[in-house]
Amino acid sequence: MCPDKETLSAYVDGELEQEWNETLNYHLEGCSACSRNVRQLHGLTNVMHAGDTAVTDALEAARYRVWRGVRSSCEQRTYHSLPFRVVKIPVPTMALIAVLCLVMGAGTMMLWTGGYMMDRESPVAAIPDDHQFSSAEELLEYLSRHEKSLNITIQLPEEPVFLVLGEPQLLRAADYRQGE
């Protein structure tokens, strides 16, 4: 009587006990069908083992590729010794810096050539005290330059501590002087 497939499979995998193993060896010598089955099972096992090796090889190759990539990127980031340190700046950042430089330059030029613009170093005179407009055009040009509003900054002395005494008030000078 021939053994079932599970037993043959266990035999091929070497999972049978010694006693059963010897019995099956004896049977295989006389049974061509079981011998064929065992050969097929051995073949299948070999293929599977070969498959394992292929997967392992593929994994190894992938791991090698990854490490090679990592190593190469590390080599690219290696900085040169001082004073020639290479700093990589992304293009958008470079563009932003350039635009900021332009705006600041233009602002500085405007302040430099702004004529009546306020100067924060000294208490501001919106217009120099002795200034007189030579023509109506000059006056209109001055007014068009301050389209929104004119700002005058007056620096108060630093020392006294001021108190808010109430709502802002606007009085006729004559009335206020009378009341004094």
Partner: protein, 159 residues
């Protein structure tokens, strides 16, 4: 028909070139220019003058002049807008904004208020951005900005 159209077109082109009112327009515009003179003062509660500064600005009716006063613990911005009402009157609108701290530098308080007064051209008004208390303590300080508004043309005549 074509000739009439051509004449109308020529007249339309030439009329703006012949502008007898252009100089008058500039004169009218110049008449709208106002001259603001500021006299900022710092006084003690007792009325003693501690500090003063003068400044001036040119503007036109309805355009704001911002006067910014910066001190140790206070920043007061006065937005002053003169509106010409008729030949000799001006409505002076003043909006005051005050940021100030008394003890703790982080504890900044903000006050805002708006007021207006009609004055004659050449007349002065006094603006108190930090307010004015009748019962002022002698230790308190008063900031006042005296504003005189006049026409630019009047200023030229006076010169």
């Amino acid at each position: 028909m074509r000739r009439t159209g051509f004449l109308v077109l020529t007249l339309m082109l030439l009329l703006p070139m012949h502008s007898p009112g252009q100089e008058g327009d500039v004169d009218d515009l110049i008449r709208q220019v106002l001259y603001l003179e500021f006299h900022a003062r710092l006084l003690t509660g007792g009325g003693e003058l501690l500090w003063e500064m003068e400044n001036k600005a040119y503007t036109i009716s309805g355009r704001t002049v911002d006067v910014r006063l910066e001190g140790g613990n206070v920043l007061a911005i006065s937005h002053l807008t003169p509106y010409l009402r008729n030949d000799d009157m001006v409505l002076l609108v003043a909006q005051g904004e005050v940021w100030y701290n008394r003890n703790n530098p982080r504890d900044v308080k903000y006050y805002s208020g708006m007021t207006s007064i009609p004055i004659e051209l050449g007349e002065s008004a006094i603006f108190f951005p930090l307010g004015l208390n009748e019962k002022i303590e002698q230790t308190a300080y008063i900031i006042e900005i005296e504003i005189t508004v006049d026409r630019y043309t009047q200023l030229q005549k006076n010169r």
